[in-house]
Symmetry: C2
Subunit: 163 residues, 2 copies
């Protein structure tokens, strides 16, 4: 689990193996290699919500404690979370998001929005308000023209090869 996987590895391969039957060279696969394991994104959700202690994260995600310990270790290794002592008397550590971890927040919000619209029945269980005062309805936009980005509004410039 030597924090490699990147470039060609990554993929969906859970462990930290070496490329064998790789698949397409692709940063989606790379990203999933870092946060795509079971429970990782839910752990990150809790941390971003401010829940930073082991027991709470375990309770709120539903992950079993051994897997949670493994995920936290992995996310710290890969730079998504950092571990910090927040109390000395009983020496206690907490997990906080790194910059890279905070930059996953939009992805979680987009996933939440999709889940609200396509899987959750009834009203959204969790809701956010944006700084502008409106209830958050996120959408992906182009940084340049600020128009919405959808499946049909892009054209492929270059495609990663299939290693």
């Amino acid at each position: 689990m030597t924090a490699d996987g990147q470039r060609t590895g990554g993929g969906q391969r859970t462990g930290g193996e070496r490329d064998k039957t790789v698949g397409r060279d692709c940063s989606i696969a790379g990203a999933l290699g870092v946060v795509g394991e079971k429970w990782s994104l839910l752990v990150l959700r809790e941390v971003l919500l401010g829940e930073r202690r082991f027991d709470q994260i375990a309770r709120n995600t539903g992950a079993s404690r051994d897997i949670l310990a493994a995920r936290l270790r992995g996310l710290v290794e890969r730079g998504v979370l950092a571990r910090r002592q927040y109390e000395q008397r009983p020496p206690r550590d907490e997990y906080v998001p790194t910059q890279a971890g905070r930059e996953l927040a939009p992805i979680l919000l987009a996933l939440m929005d999709w889940g609200d619209r396509h899987v959750t029945e009834g009203p959204p269980p969790t809701r956010f308000e944006h700084d502008c005062g409106a209830e958050l309805e996120p959408e992906l936009a182009c940084r340049h023209c600020h128009a919405r980005v959808t499946a049909g509004s892009t054209r492929l410039l270059r495609l990663g090869s299939v290693g």
Copy 2:
């Protein structure tokens, strides 16, 4: 695997079990219950890229054929993909994205962007151009004020409970 999971189920639970030690009621968990299994998002990537045949998807993702068959079946059941005959003479089916599936494209693009910036070394293996002519650099924006949405620009209005 009765396409339930939703509301409270979903979670990270891979099979289609019933809530036991659920975790927070949350549409992120719900969404991951639909597309969070290993390989699902890479399969969707291929389908959205236009690769719609079994063998190609297998090759381009690196998933083994049995798992791929299970994923395709699951994604069709859950309404992310649809199966359609594209040829009669040798009767052949292809997998195409549904509307819900196409609406996952922004999430894949956001993941790709994050991967480009935080895990892939070197230049992005895959690049898109937006309709506006600029190379795509996606960001999450508020549908109302069109400002960028980051980890710090939202406030929690309501939080799903921990079932």
